[in-house]
Point group: C2
Chain length 256, copies 2
DNA sequence: CGCGTGGTTGACCGATATCAACACTTGTGG
DNA sequence: CCACAAGTGTTGATATCGGTCAACCACGCG
């Protein structure tokens, strides 16, 4: 019921939602769940994939407490996922882009543990998890790749812990930019020019910093000739130096 | 070869290592991988489980870069896992106790991404992952529970991100204590009296704080009547208040 | 046009890190 | 047995990074 609220209701969109996704035809199939599958197995996966679903900007894909039935693969657009604790503090735990999987944290308890919200108008494939489990028994390659994706998620979060626990503001932000750059590159986009899809506030929350700190970091990086920024459009001017900052092998003086 | 260095070499221990583990007889089987399996399926799991392996205090179970062949289930003792980045900064990403699984982050790349070190003399079951994958096809309940365990790990780390990104020192430490308490309770031990197996330094690193901060927090909590501490032996005197601190619904003044 | 939202910049503050001294325990070797 | 060193933990003084508060700007929208 909660999910229904988030669905656009005009005819065109409803129409799209009834389309079945096709992994074979999807530009993300080399990054997404079907990675490495033989054509015949992709067809079997296609058969169980549910409808596509559009999610408008700022609308939830799912909310904490929603029953878990599907994983979601991002077709296009961007999402953020965040935790909210008892005291109302929130922590953004990740930003997801095309080809990435949402909802794996919910498998353990059959309801979602975090909120997932679209950062822009986006589309996902619904993957009914029960059907996926059945298919695992028939397509070992699929199971193996699914385990890889879960394992990757664990590693990604361990790196986020390292960032939040050990790094200083400037290094955190450099890591963030380098990571975005690499992920766009993997999708065939420019590694040096891209739009931040999220607000300064979201970036700050994700990195354990305030919106003011992000704003100051952007100004400082700009002054240092590392990047240019126009609204949310970033151009990385010195990716090598940025990588050095991210790796911690170089630092810039606090107020230079 | 690296692993061999960590193996105690006296006869008694070598002898133990040749023993096959038995899940059916293991006191942890209700928490560990075999949770919820029928007896017949536990037997099938037993057949693939490798040797037991003892790991002495401060010795590694595996190191970053070691080839990934096995998951490990802790039989007794405690471990820590930590990430090291290019600049040599380390972040402890978790403390594992009996019944918990180690190595799931390595599935994606076939080599380990972090170091796992014993906090005290400990024993693990080796679970050859290749054999486990074969068994998944035959025992769907096992696969389902394995997915739950991976998903739990993801959720656990998301909570750690919330802690590191949003909470103040006193709340972080309260969360740490309450979490330890709950995990000992789940294993049939006292939720109010237990030994910290790790140094102040390890606690600090895990919580993104310094050793001095941990020391001061312990003194403060002691002064507030929340606990007593003798070396590493903790007694929680006011678990309810501690839980309130952990939830963020109560605070204590910085220097009261 | 005014208003709201998002972003930038400056001044100041405070929680926690850093630095330093000291206490206690453990292990080692004479 | 003691002397000594190394490791671990505690406590105090001070420094600093990033948070907080506040003013202001730019843009989009009704």
């Amino acid at each position: 019921m909660i999910q229904a609220i988030s669905l656009p209701t005009d005819d065109k969109l409803l129409n799209v939602q009834t389309l079945k996704a096709s992994c074979a035809a999807c530009s993300m199939h080399q990054l997404c769940l079907p990675m490495g599958l033989a054509d015949a197995d992709i067809d079997r996966l296609d058969k169980i994939i549910g409808r596509r679903r559009r999610v408008a900007r700022d609308e939830p894909l799912y909310r904490k407490g929603d029953p878990f039935r599907n994983l979601y693969a991002v077709r296009f657009g961007h999402f953020k996922t965040y935790q909210v604790n008892a005291a109302g503090e929130t922590q953004i735990t990740g930003f997801q882009m095309a080809g990435e999987l949402l909802g794996m944290d919910a498998i353990s308890s059959e309801c979602h543990h975090c909120d997932a919200v679209a950062l822009e108008d986006s589309e996902v494939c619904e993957i009914p998890f029960g059907n996926l489990e059945e298919l695992f028994g028939q397509v070992p390659t699929l199971l193996r790749h699914f385990h890889r994706m879960m394992s990757n998620e664990i590693t990604r979060e361990q790196n986020a812990m390292l960032l939040l626990g050990n790094m200083r503001a400037e290094q955190r932000f450099a890591v963030f930019l380098v990571n975005k750059s690499a992920r766009y590159a993997a999708r065939g986009y420019s590694p040096t020019q891209f739009a931040l899809r999220m607000s300064r506030e979201d970036i700050g929350n994700y990195l354990g910093l305030t919106i003011e700190s992000i704003s100051r970091l952007l100004s400082r990086f700009k002054k240092m000739g590392l990047l240019t920024i126009d609204k949310r459009e970033v151009t990385l001017l010195d990716p090598a130096r940025l990588k050095a900052l991210a790796a911690g092998t170089e630092q810039c003086s606090p107020m230079a």
